[in-house]
Amino acid sequence: MNAIPSLDESFDEARVLHLLREHLPAQAPIKDFVHHNPLHALQDLDFFDASLLVSRAFGIDTTLSLADYRQFHRQGRIADEIIDELIRRKSPAHDSPEQRHQILHLEDTPPAPPRVGSLRTKWNKFLPFCLEDRIEPILFRWLGGFLDQGNADWLMPPCEGGLLASLRQLEQQSYASLFRTDEARRLFHQRELTLRDLLARVVGRESYFENYLVDQQFAHRGWSGLVSVIEQRPETLFAPRKARLRDLIHFEMILEIDVIEQALGPGWEPLSHRIHHHPMDYFSPPDPDPAQQALQLWQEAFEWTYYDQVLAGISFLRTRQGQQADEQKELTFQGVFCVDDRECSLRRYLEASDPACQTYGAPGFFGVVAYFKPYGACHLEKNCPAPLTPIHLIKELKPRPRRGRVPMHDQQSRSFLGDLLAAFALGAGSGLRLLSDLMNPSMRPDIMHSFSHMNANGELSIECTDPETREEGLKVGFEVPEMVEIVGKLLSGIGLTKNFAPLVYIVAHGGTTANNPHHAAYDCGACSGRPGALNARVFAAMANRTDVRNSLTKQGIHIPRETRFIAAMHDTSQDHLRYYDVSQLPMTSQKQHAENVRTFEKALDSNARERARRFASIERNLEPKRLRRAIEKRSVSYFEPRPELGHGSNALCYVGRRHSIKGLFLDRRAFLQSYDSLQDPEGETLLNLLTPLVPVCGGINLEYYFSRMDNHKMGCGTKLSHNVTGLIGVTNSSDGDLRTGLPFQMIENHDPVRLLMMVEQKTEVIHKQVASSPTLAQWFDHGWVHLVTIDPDNGDLHRYEKGKFHPYHPIAKVEKVEDLEKLIREHERMRTSQIYDATRENMPVVVS
């Protein structure tokens, strides 16, 4: 080993590891896909500063190109008035038309080369080959083998100690070596070797270490990110692995030494002795340049042109409604839906087909924070928002129907004869199956079916009978006081504390998709990417209990005896609704329910038609029955990469009373949370609502935002070439890095705009509450999410900017349409997936 070179700047291993963990993608194994803000590490910076920083550091596009924005401008999707208004906002003294002229004619400049990566690539000058090409394929193979959850039929011999220990054991046992050179073998077996020692050998001077490690790990950010996530949350794997980022780096350094030693011979000089390249601070704030400022202005103008239409619509509705009082009418039913943007349209159609119903929105876990253990399962599923840690367990108590098998996915036989027979037997089967899957797609055991998550007829352990026993460290079921708290909190949160209808539906949602590794991204984000039927069922059962209701009456929530809660789940891909435990209802309720089912079905018909406008494979003018059938088939088609469009095009989040925005057509782009400011004059409930809502909706929105802005680096590119790896992720290639983020098929109709939170509450109340929660304030103050308040009394709008509220007067005139269905039916479809063409499919805001 060379002597350690001069210590001009000390290397702090823990600090660098922390830095890496912060910036590496935080995507869990793909079965637990949960949307989050990809720039979570930089959330304490202003949105555009953070964007610029990652753009400079990693070479990621965080805005569209000037040409794209100009195209939007030509299409009228960025309005001149908005540009002027934004210029005025920033610098009131300036002449805005002139500045507008300037930014309109600015040309795209080629982006500066990214900072990260600049040091390690220098190796390639001194080696007769590319360092990454030699190291990465074998590194990924070992990592894949180590983390593999069961894709390979012969898993790596397990070892308690983690990657290095497993590999050391293999190296010791095997006659074939993992390495090419004796030097690497020698170093590999020296357990006491630290990263510093290895870095000293490869890099030399300590001041370069941090740069080098960042370069090295970001060259394969997918794998490194996954290792770091598993290290922090080992429970996410069914087959546990002791993954450590440190081990990964250690092994990679040894591989580097191996390859370099072989190429250059013993006694080679470390990298920093060979170059005249100064270490850089990769994460120092870059200098803003005019092009960047122009891009920022374009982006804001793009966002505000849309927001302005929405806000104009809200103002318009307010003037139309005037002081219309909440009239008391006989309600047929109430429905509580998930805030999810995909439920927007179903609620709209329900209200249209039965004017005497009311709909509410609440996060789709309905306050039930629990793990779920299906009957006979050996592992738990988390059914609540990802950041929460449940202490309760809901068990399925009755056996469920046996899952079918698909022998084509099963383990290969290891015997010669078994292998041969399999090829013959499965060959014939595959041919027939191929034919039938293409001609008549139908449900198969390998299709992710939302309703199969929980057995509809199975009993659940909802009530905790024995608070002392713990199963897997969790309390089985909830105790009555806990139930009261959950039910009371949800109902008062959405303002449903009086005027209960005879039936209240608690509607969860899930998705059914075939051939889709990203299925978790289509399910309920508030249930950690799982269908939410379980939570709805548990909630309904709690709310139907007399003891719970009695306690609630004491809190001022009086639920009439006749009112029954029914759990249901909406399959957002198939447009199916299934209701749970209906047979347990009294006869009168069952009768009422049967009538409501007709209303639901009618609404689902219309909902399916509205969704079909974006599906090329479906003729939108089909009669409802055939259309529903076509949609259902689409969801079970292996060949359909877009069974539904997920949260694509999401842009808004409304927190307030439903009737204030009734009649506003938002094209399934809004998360809708119910909230009644009149029942919450101090805003404490509001704070409880916003605390989970903003990170969940903001996370979804930013995940889509960045995946759309740079689908190659922040997203995972097109789905079509994805190759499932180790049951933990997807790669494009068997020698390739794991891909994180959203696939192209999910984001192509997405307008990359930040989320606009619209809260119906007094400015002062919100101000106080936001200021009281630093985490919330961070989202709004730094512009990761926009905030606009709607005054519940007079409808005045205020927008929030850096801790201050400013009055907002919409510029746009919103159009009023008579026949909304016709408008939807006739709206144009995208022809190409170019952003300015694709997102034309999103409809303008209108009122009906």
Binding site: M408, D446, P517
Partner: protein, 611 residues
Amino acid sequence: MTTITSLLWIIILSPIVSLGFISGLPRVRETAISRIMMAGVLAGLVGGVALALVLFFRNLPSLTASGPTLWQNREHSFGLDLHADPSGLTYLILASFLTTMVIIFSKPYLHREEGYKRFFLILGCFYLGISIVVLAGNLEVLFIGWEIVGVTSFFLISFYHERYLAVKNAYKVVSLYRVADVAMLVGIWIIHHHFPHFHFGSDPLTGNEIAATAAACTFLLAALVKSGQFPFSFWVPRAMEGPTTSSAIFYGALSTHLGVFLLLRTEAFWQHNLILKLIIGSLGLLTYFSCKWMSLVQATVKAKIGYGSVAQIGLIFIEVACGWVFLALLHLVLNSLYRCYQILVSPSTLNYQIQNQIFLPKKNTTPLASRWNCTLYVLAVHEFYLDRFFAETLWHNLKILGSMMLKLRLGRTGFFVLLALAIGSVSLCWPQNPITRWSRLPEAMVLVGWIFVFRSFSTRGPATSAWGMLMVNQLFLFLALWLESNLNHFEGALFLTGVIFAGVLGFLVLTHLHRSGAGMDLDQFHGHAMRHPVAARLFVLAVLAIAGFPITPTFLGEELMLSHIADEQWILMLMIIVNLVLDGLVGMALYCKIFLGGGRITRPPLNFRAA
């Protein structure tokens, strides 16, 4: 009978007609594109079934349709003949069925994909290639189809041409294919010399035992490469870079099984040679075990299926060697269906296995059993060092050789062009001059060619100079062949037109790009195809012409002139082979570096190349 034989022509022509129609359609006409292609393939399916019924009911061993003769001289003729026999028809029906299925699958799957039309064009060409191979009436026609299949493979692997690994792996595969193609050319050369009356379905050959063995070896090499058999298996998982549907039909099914078909077609050369049969069988067995193990340890699902498929093909090789043709065909069909389906639904495996795991605790597999087990595991993860051997040992050493050639101070390349012209014109005007009469002149010429082709192989400078060196090599190669063919003007002209056409076209494209400010150095990937799609297509054409792709006059000229080389001149032949392999590789490398591997994504230093 003529109506029946004309069916053969319909099968070949219908995809061509479909391709013609499609190429005129804009990309957004997705439905039309897929339907027209499907019509072309369905015609093949119906035709194939009809022919099979005819053969069966009339109890015929095979059907032959003579086509137009492209070239005829005293020694041999080259006609576009077709031939249908049970094994060919089985393959044809299988290919038509799977292609139809994949077209139906791909229509919604590739919806709104940037390369939608490109995909269907390539798929159509691939199907055409397969039908030509299986219905070919002679080896030249078979070779045409074989080349089409190889080139379409390249285009589908590099379908997402902005990705580094896709392009790198496409190049890796196509360079192996190039070796196979040239091997096949040599095989055809041997057959012309020694078995001029050979035709498919003819009786086992008698005569020159050594020549038959040599021919069999060349075809075996081609078959091993194409079917991913030992020691070439490593390319199969790396070829799964395109859309899942294309991986399914190419590497799960039709392309990899083509090697088996080639062996069946050329069985006359090895059928009576026990040693050869043993070699085929043992390579099959070796493949079976190595790929089986590699398949067992793969963490990526497509690689697992790919190796699994190749392992089964190893077994099919054994069946072929044993002469169990029926069993081999059955196995081939079923394995193709199985693997094709497996790859098509491979993304489902995640959900399926995870759901299973919730209920079945996976017992941690056998703890470290024996040292041999560990050794096998390590070897299987390292893919038995096959990829490393080819990429690092062979390839690397070729590069080093090239760098040595680059160090030679030869002065300006133009001087050599003049030299070539001088030798050429002297030979033309004064055939009996002392230089021309020097019997080792062709070898010398090829040697000069070698220097240049190696130089262009290793240069990291501008693409235009590499292209220039490639042209110089072609000129000297031409001189060698021309001198060898006793100055046959017609053949020489044929070859030279191809080369000059390609050379000028390539130069024009490159200089045009250079003028528009595009980067041209070969030390990185530029990805100009995105901005200059027309230039990219023209350049491909030039490269194919240089490489002697069978649609160009170069191919015919090359074919004919090669036939003048007598078998005592095997040294010359060997030198020419190396030259041919390399010039194809360099051409493709230029194309990849300049046009593929897309600029922004793979732009250094942090180039996301692994993604």
